[in-house]
């Protein structure tokens, strides 16, 4: 589904990604772990098309189509979704209106009519229940005054509404207590199918107890330096990242 080939990226002339290769197939869950500053969030932003990051080399292929040059909204229309590490608050726009606009813009790009209001309401109700979100909460301004956990839950709610092919969860576990983490992970697992894929970016192994990865990759200094199965995550949790560095030096 997703192929990342030799991706180099920099921001303001500072090289952050230094030749990333990654293949994610439909139905898979990949975890990307790594120390602070390794380039994890940059990778997520580059896949989503953030313009501040300049891709100096490489390709991003989604379903056999090169999306390297596409705008963020075009990538979203093709099924790319990123759950933000720091979701933006937009005072004055309710979550409901925001997600309605997002869904209808995506439909418009495919030549479809707006989703009928009754269908939209039904979907909102379903997805809100899935994530244990009070619907009153959805009429509040997007992310404004939300706690860290509420913001993350709201991100996954949006994911549930948009039904992406490829979901990138950027540090979705940060700021979540264990109960909220379970709800969020449960939501992600229910949305998971053989037709979509999830890339989980995280610093800690904890989230991976709930969203179990098929593959774990270690990102360091802008490169994937080690890949393995979920056992690698436990090893990292136990031993930290230094041993990989030492291994690399050898």
């Amino acid at each position: 589904m997703l192929q990342i080939k030799n991706v180099h990226a920099s921001v303001e002339d500072k090289v952050i990604l230094n030749g990333i290769n990654l293949e994610v197939k439909a139905g898979e869950v990949h975890a990307i772990m790594g120390p602070n500053g390794a380039g994890k969030s940059t990778l997520a932003s580059v896949i989503s098309g953030k313009e501040e990051y300049e891709m100096t080399d490489g390709e991003i292929i989604l379903d056999n189509e090169d999306i390297t040059e596409l705008d963020p909204e075009e990538r979203a229309h093709k099924g790319v979704f990123m759950s933000f590490q720091y979701p933006i608050s937009i005072p004055g726009v309710s979550t409901t209106n925001f997600i309605k606009t997002a869904i209808n813009e995506t439909r418009k790009s495919k030549g479809l009519e707006d989703m009928p209001a009754s269908e939209m309401l039904k979907m909102i109700k379903e997805k809100a229940e899935l994530l244990d979100i009070d619907r009153k909460f959805l009429s509040r301004s997007l992310n404004e005054g939300f706690s860290g956990g509420e913001k993350k839950r709201n991100e996954i709610f949006q994911m549930a509404m948009l039904e992406p092919k490829l979901a990138i969860l950027d540090e979705t576990d940060s700021g979540l207590d264990i109960d909220a983490l379970k709800i969020v992970a449960n939501g992600v697992n229910k949305l998971k199918s053989n037709d979509n894929a999830v890339v989980v970016i995280t610093h800690y192994q904890r989230l991976l107890d709930y969203i179990v990865p098929d593959f774990v990759h270690v990102l360091m200094d802008g490169k994937i330096v080690k890949s393995g199965t979920k056992e690698l995550a436990y090893e990292l949790e136990e031993k930290g990242y230094d041993w990989i560095k030492e291994e690399l030096v050898k």
Binding site: G49, E73, I90, G92
Partner: protein, 437 residues
Amino acid sequence: MDLKDKLLTSHIAFEDNLKADSPLYDLRSNALKVFEEKGFPSKKEENWKYTSLNSLLKKDYCISPKGDTDIEFKNVKQYFLHNVDTYKVVFIDGVYSSYLSETTHDGIDVCLLSSAFDKSKYRPVIESYFNKAAKKEGLTQLNTAFTKEGAFIHIPKNKEADKPIEIIYFSTGNEATLFVQPRNLIIADENAHVQIIERHQSLSSNAVLTNAVTEIFADKRAMVDYYKIQNDTPEASLVDSTYIKQERESICSVHTFSFGGKITRNNLQFTQEGEYCDSILNGVTIIGDKQHVDHNTLVHHIAENCESHQDYKGIFDDSSTGVFNGKVYVEKEAQKLDAFQQNNNILISDKATINAKPQLEIFADDVKCSHGCTIGQMDSDALFYMRSRGIGEKEAKALLMYAFANNVLESVKIPELKSRINKLIAEKIGVSLGFEL
């Protein structure tokens, strides 16, 4: 002959056309003297530093239009509120249009200022209120000197206007250049309630300069909500001076929506004379091209335990310029005050300019006053966030601008008006969204 001389010399002829025994005779001649002495404002005055009327004053204006023109309702229907019943006081080139108006004397007075001037039963009211709130400023007194027509609204004690009142001034463009000076007098007696919408609208591309003055008196516990829609044609300019006097426990709000016109200057002055008053001053400005909008506000706090809330948002595109000059003046006696002033601006183009000057002058020692002013570009992180959800760049920007203006719309109490303003904002920004804020 420049405009000032032209006006001064024409005043005699103006007076001749009015009733000789008018109680306003002295008032008018005194006002003319003030104008003669002060003249039109210039950029040398601190309050006019960023707004020049020079380009407007050079034109050769028609100052006494014939006004025998009629316009068809279907051609101006769009400027009225729909789906809601309203009283209407409508003027065409400064002359009252009975055909387009719907006035009343049933319990409340919604009518013409000229008829209030002429009828003896209104004389005590006119004598107690007319020109009593207006300040001795050149343009305001010029208006007083030539006051002939406008809206007169009087809501007696404990009465409530049963529907909103629309005051609309149309200019037809039959004169190539027109100078008009409408005058409104609004009196809400004790515990009276009224909602008013005011609009100046040019129906052609000809130049119009409007020097409007409105006086509003809110007695004890009165509630007055005033909405100004400024969405005029590119050659229409407006100097609007609105003076509001509030007695104890009254609540007055003025919303100013500035979306059009060439040069628009809003002088908005509140005076709180009694305790526990609340004054609300809100504005949304969205302009482009070479348009200019200047908000000059003053809230004068005299009594204890009062509040004032100012919230002005501006979005400036192309080479447009904006001014926000807001002053809060707190007298020594005005203790336990809560005054809030906020002015936020977004500059969309590199060539757009905003001059913002918030001022607090506080002589009391037990008050809560806050003010904030921001000038910025569109938040790129917020744009990326929205785009990553599939919302196109143009729509994302529009949504951000909508959201930005939203606070101000929230306090609009007439739902029909709110949705109209919503549509105007969408129109200004050039997109349609599937919902209203």
